[in-house]
């Protein structure tokens, strides 16, 4: 347990987590920003949001992913970006779980808007792991290896 704590509080490990989360979220945002209509359809397919909220979500979330992805790598607004990435991953985990329970045969809409990965347990595991990474950055992240000194 002590070894685990030592590892996850290491500044290079945390930086590696930041890089991973950052690049995943930047990559995920690009196609969604390019095709908001297609992303809105992906959101609709989950049957979780009222129709009036779908387009607002489709317009705001990709930019949130992009901005948080850039900032978590840069170490600027580190707490806020880690918090939001964790929050988004929490939403994704709930949405994917609900889709699996209801047996929806839909594309996850994670990275590509056309014919992406179907919702499946491996996506859930991936998101849970990234959620843990976001929590580590949120609570243990420091200003080390950041553009902004004193970010913590």
């Amino acid at each position: 347990m002590r070894l685990l704590k030592l590892v996850i509080s290491n500044k290079y490990v945390i930086f590696a987590i930041r890089l991973t989360l950052g690049f995943v979220f930047i990559y995920a945002a690009i196609d969604k920003i390019a095709q908001p209509g297609a992303f809105a359809e992906n959101i609709y397919n989950y049957r979780m949001l009222p129709h009036w909220a779908i387009n607002v979500m489709a317009l705001v979330m990709p930019w949130l992913e992009l901005i948080c992805g850039v900032l978590i790598i840069a170490g600027v607004f580190l707490r806020g970006s880690a918090f939001l990435i964790g929050l988004m991953l929490g939403v994704f985990i709930i949405a994917i779980s609900a889709a699996l329970v209801r047996g929806l045969d839909i594309s996850c809409g994670c990275f590509t808007m056309e014919g992406g990965h179907g919702v499946a347990v491996d996506l859930l595991i991936r998101d849970v792991l990234m959620f843990a990474g976001a929590a580590i950055v949120l609570f243990l992240g420091t200003s080390a290896l950041s553009l902004r000194r004193g970010a913590d």
């Binding site: 908001p36 809105a40 129709h51 387009n55 607002v56 949130l64």
Partner: protein, 156 residues
Amino acid sequence: MKPILRRAVIEGIILVVVSAIAGFAVNHARTEGIPLIADAEAFRVRTDAEFMSTEDAFRLFEEGTAVFLDARGPDLFAVERIEGAMNIAPSAEGVESVAWLAGADIRVICYACEENQREAGVLADMLLEIGCSQVYVLHGGIEGWKDSGFPMEVGG
């Protein structure tokens, strides 16, 4: 609230506001931006054709510049339909029977019942594929038309 969480929430709110501004601004600047409030029917009915409101469709109906195609089954069509509509199944045979529309300068308005507007979307897409350029899906289906009090035909 713990200082870390308090700080995370405050920074998070700032980032959400910045993201919302960026998202709405870019969408506004786009020529093919999406509306802020989504039309539920646009999600239910997957089609490349545009939707037309019942009021606009009625205006064309009065002008006689549109053809109405009913994509429901013949049994439902026999019970009631939009006045002058043709019953065309969303199938190769059905579309072939109205292939002449591809060369005609007339608007084509497809509809089904609201619950099953998907059929109207399929028919509209098939018509677009054969070269009809002015194809629309009637918003709200036959129920929307009927609720507006526009002309219907009943029975055989």
